[in-house]
C-alpha cells in the first residue's frame, strides 16, 4: 500500500484506456503517454495494461506502507527514494516506510510533462467498464472517479519483496524513436474530413509553422496557439463522433487537439487527426513548448503503430532474457 503525501492536484490512476465505449458516449480516458505506462509495467513484469499513477504536477511524493517493487517512467523528475537518487525509466524496490519523491521534470535530452508511477502487480482499483482508468467527466473508474488527494492510499497488486531483478531500465522511446522538426517535438497527422475547407495558405501554415501548447491544455484537449487557420467559407456542422487525436478548429482559428479525456462527440470542423502512434509525443509536450505537425499517409500511420509495438516487444524480449539469465546464474 502507498500513501499520497502531496496535495498537488490532477494525479490520476490510469491504464491503457477504456476502449469500445464511445458508441455509448463513454470516453476513452487512459494514460496520456501509453508507451511510458506500458514500459513501466513491462519493467515490473506486469501486464502492459496494468493501472499506474499518472502525475502531471510536481513535486509529488508517496510513502510506501509496505515493501513494494515499483518503476517510474515518463518525464525524468530526478526522483529520489528517501535520499537515494533514482534513474528515470527504471525499476526499484522500496522498503516499508520509504518515501518516493518526484521533482520538477528535468530538461535533459527529452523535456516531458508527465511521469508514471507503476507498482508491482499494477495499482489495484476496481475495473469499471473494462478499465481502471479514471473517467473524470463521469466521475468513475480509478480511485472513486477522481484525482488523487493527500492522504489517499492505493494498493499494489503484488506488494512485497521484488520477485524480479530491479535496477533495470530502458532507453526511453523518445530517444529510440525520435521525431522532431526544427527542434520541436513533432507528430504525424492524417488530414481529416474538412481539411480541404481551409485556405491553401492556412493548410500550408498548419504543416510548416510551430504550434504553441497553451496553458489551456490538459487531459481533455490541447489548445494550441499559432497562425490563425481560415476556412474558405464558414462551416457549420452537426455534432459528430470524434476520437482522441482529432484536431478541431473553432471559429477563432486556433486548433484544439482532442486528448484522452475528450468528449466522444463535437461539432467543430476537423483539419486532421494526430495518428494514434504519436499521441504520446503530444501527451508529453509541456505547456509552453512548441510542436510541429507532419503530414502522413494511412500506411505511414499503420507502420508507425508497428514501430511502437516493436519497441515494446523488444523491451519485453530483453527484459525476459535478462530475467532468465539472472535466474540461471
Amino acid at each position: 500500500m502507498i500513501e499520497i503525501l502531496s496535495s498537488s492536484a490532477l494525479a490520476t490512476v490510469q491504464d491503457l484506456g477504456r476502449e469500445g465505449g464511445l458508441r455509448w458516449g463513454v470516453g476513452t480516458s487512459g494514460a496520456m503517454d501509453p508507451l511510458a505506462l506500458a514500459a513501466g509495467n513491462l519493467l515490473l513484469g506486469n501486464e502492459e495494461s496494468a493501472a499506474a499513477i499518472e502525475i502531471p504536477v510536481f513535486p509529488f511524493r508517496v510513502r510506501f506502507a509496505e515493501d513494494c517493487a515499483f518503476a517510474v517512467a515518463g518525464a525524468d523528475c530526478a526522483a529520489t527514494l528517501d535520499t537515494r537518487p533514482l534513474m528515470p525509466w527504471s525499476t526499484y524496490e522500496a522498503r516499508a516506510g520509504q518515501v518516493l519523491s518526484l521533482g520538477v521534470p528535468q530538461g535533459g535530452a527529452w523535456r516531458a510533462a508527465r511521469a508514471y508511477l507503476c507498482l508491482a502487480g499494477g495499482v489495484d482499483v476496481p475495473v469499471v467498464l473494462n478499465s481502471r482508468s479514471t473517467q473524470l467527466r463521469g466521475a468513475f473508474g480509478g480511485l472513486d472517479g477522481r484525482a488523487l488527494r493527500k492522504g489517499d492510499t492505493l494498493r499494489a497488486g503484488t506488494p512485497g519483496r521484488a520477485t524480479r531483478a530491479t535496477g533495470i531500465g530502458l532507453v526511453p522511446p523518445a530517444l529510440v524513436l525520435p521525431l522532431q522538426r526544427d527542434g520541436c517535438a513533432a507528430m504525424r497527422v492524417l488530414p481529416a474530413a474538412e481539411y480541404e475547407g481551409y485556405t491553401a495558405a492556412s493548410r500550408e501554415a498548419f504543416w510548416s509553422t510551430p504550434w504553441k501548447v497553451t496553458p489551456q491544455s490538459d487531459r481533455y484537449g490541447y489548445r494550441l496557439a499559432g497562425v490563425a487557420l481560415e476556412p474558405i467559407a464558414a462551416m457549420e456542422m452537426r455534432s459528430h463522433g470524434i476520437v482522441p487525436g482529432v484536431i478541431q478548429v473553432p471559429p477563432g482559428g486556433q486548433p484544439i487537439v482532442q486528448m484522452r479525456d475528450a468528449q466522444p462527440s463535437g461539432g467543430y470542423p476537423k483539419l486532421g487527426t494526430v495518428i494514434e502512434a504519436d499521441l504520446w509525443r503530444l501527451g508529453q509536450a509541456p505547456i509552453g513548448s512548441q510542436v510541429r505537425f507532419i503530414r502522413a499517409t494511412w500506411d505511414e500511420a499503420v507502420a508507425a503503430l508497428a514501430e511502437v509495438r516493436a519497441w515494446l516487444d523488444e523491451s519485453g524480449r530483453l527484459l525476459d532474457l535478462h530475467q532468465g539469465l539472472r535466474q540461471a546464474s
Partner: protein, 141 residues
C-alpha cells in the same frame, strides 16, 4: 542436461555459425571455444593451468572496493536522458545508488554501490564493451 552435454550443444550451435571464438565467463568459470583452428590471439597458452579467471583485480587497498560488471554490456557513465555523469570521481554515493549503466540494446542495467562510499575512480571508458566481472569503478570510504 549435464555440463558435458551442454558443452556439446554449444559446440554444435557454434559449428553452424561464422563465429570464430565463443567466450563465456561466470563467477566460477571461463569457457573458450575456438572454431576450425581459429586463433584467439593469445600467446600465453591458456591450457597451462594458470586459470586466467578474471582480472585478478589489483588487490584493492584497505577501505577501497572495486565494483565489477554484473553482466555484459556497453559502459554508460551517464543516463541517456541526462547531461551529467552518474557518479563522477569524488562524488559521495549511497548504498544502492547507480554508479554505472551497462547497456544491452535498449536495456540499461544499473551497477549499484554496495555501500555508502566516495567514488575514487572510473575504471572503464564510456562506450567500452565489457564482460561479466570487468572492474568498473573504485570506491573508497
Amino acid at each position: 542436461m549435464d555440463a558435458l552435454e551442454r558443452f556439446r550443444q554449444l559446440a554444435a550451435w557454434l559449428a553452424e555459425t561464422d563465429i570464430a571464438l565463443l567466450e563465456l565467463r561466470g563467477p566460477q568459470f571461463l569457457l573458450r571455444l575456438l572454431r576450425d583452428g581459429a586463433t584467439d590471439g593469445r600467446t600465453d597458452g591458456w591450457t597451462d593451468g594458470s586459470t586466467d579467471l578474471e582480472p585478478a583485480p589489483a588487490q584493492p587497498q584497505p577501505g577501497t572496493t572495486i565494483v565489477a560488471a554484473s553482466t555484459v554490456g556497453i559502459v554508460r557513465h551517464r543516463h541517456p536522458l541526462r547531461d551529467g555523469p552518474l557518479a563522477p570521481p569524488g562524488a559521495r554515493v549511497e548504498r544502492g545508488q547507480a554508479l554505472v549503466l551497462l547497456q544491452i540494446g535498449q536495456l540499461l542495467v544499473q551497477v549499484s554501490a554496495p555501500r555508502d562510499a566516495t567514488v575514487a575512480g572510473l575504471l572503464g571508458q564510456d562506450g567500452d564493451a565489457v564482460g561479466y566481472g570487468a572492474p568498473l569503478i573504485e570506491l573508497r570510504d
